[in-house]
């Protein structure tokens, strides 16, 4: 039980430190990398303490700790995003209802395609040459993964 409590305490400390850094940092950008560094430091401390005192259930706790990191990051990043489905729900929240054309008009104002293409260029998955968008090597790897996953899943292209 003590190992589980120590693991939980280490993760809570990493989270609190990260939230503290976000709250008091002058820039309000996402700080996902910072959380990875903080959580890695606390994981290291947890492993050292667990090994030193030969604590039981160490591996189970290490795996839970590692899995909690992306879980927290997903929740953290989600606080910054507005999904297209939520935009659609916001547009139909009108008590008189909305037509298909009105939702399309609303979505077109959001520039869903161009903003995503720009983000893919910034993240290094795409390069832009004039009006052309070309996959980079990391973009091609991602496309290959999506292709294999799609075949395994046997579903349509999604999106």
């Amino acid at each position: 039980m003590i190992t589980v409590l120590l693991c939980a305490f280490s993760f809570v400390c990493a989270t609190v430190l990260h939230i503290f850094a976000c709250r008091y940092s002058p820039d309000k950008n996402l700080k996902s990398k910072l959380f990875l560094q903080i959580s890695a430091a606390f994981l290291f401390v947890f492993i050292v303490v667990s090994l030193h005192f030969t604590m039981p259930l160490m591996w189970a706790c290490i795996i839970i700790y590692i899995l909690l990191v992306p879980a927290y990051l997903v929740v953290y990043v989600t606080t910054e995003l507005v999904s297209p489905s939520k935009r659609i729900l916001m547009s139909v929240a009108n008590p008189q209802g909305v037509t298909y054309a009105e939702i399309i008009e609303y979505l077109e104002k959001e520039n869903l395609i161009t903003s995503r293409l720009d983000e893919l260029v910034i993240s290094g998955c795409l390069t832009r040459a004039g009006d052309w968008y070309i996959l980079t090597s990391s973009g091609r790897s991602l496309a290959a993964f999506l292709d294999i996953f799609g075949k395994l899943l046997g579903r349509g292209v999604g999106g």
Partner: protein, 169 residues
């Protein structure tokens, strides 16, 4: 507790996740987009039930802590898979754009991309899911909010509180 218990917890948690993936890959081949959410919940619960059955009846893992840790490992693996792999594959605009562009080795122009994938396709895909889940209803050619307390708005309120807490806004 011995090292064996530790290994057993990790193994049962991982095994449950593998069972979840197998069920998911089998069941989702023919599942319609409007039933995705229910499908995920049912597959998750089915694998969870199997895990508890195997752990208690075959592996004699009766300690609450062992079961709790094993279920936690499984739940976190499933959470990671659903939100970081399956979710983006099924709903992400970026992932769809990558797949569309990858069909041509020399790339695609903006006009070619929007001819294949545009706001209409995005809206049709989402309306299919939202109408199926009852979050949106269609009456006389107009779309209305199906439920006031749908998952999106609940999660959005939570995200809003979290955002305010994290960013001190």
């Amino acid at each position: 507790m011995t090292l064996n218990t530790d290994a057993l917890i990790v193994l049962t948690g991982t095994l449950s996740f593998i069972i979840f993936l197998l069920l998911h890959f089998i069941a989702f081949r023919s599942l319609k987009a409007e039933h995705l959410f229910k499908g995920i919940i049912l597959t998750f619960l089915a694998a969870l039930g199997l895990e508890l059955f195997i752990s208690i009846y075959f592996l004699k893992m009766t300690g609450f802590l062992s079961l709790f840790l094993s279920v936690t490992i499984y739940a976190l693996m499933a959470f990671f898979y659903i939100l970081c792999i399956f979710g983006p594959y099924e709903t992400s605009i970026r992932m769809r754009l990558i797949r569309e562009i990858s069909k041509d080795p020399q790339g695609k122009t903006f006009a070619e991309i929007v001819k294949l994938y545009n706001e209409r396709v995005i809206l049709n895909n989402r309306l299919q899911r939202l109408l199926g889940s009852g979050d949106v209803r269609l009456e006389n050619g107009r779309y209305f909010l199906g439920k006031n307390n749908n998952a999106f708005f609940i999660l959005d309120s939570l995200a809003g509180y979290l955002h305010a807490f994290i960013h001190k806004t």
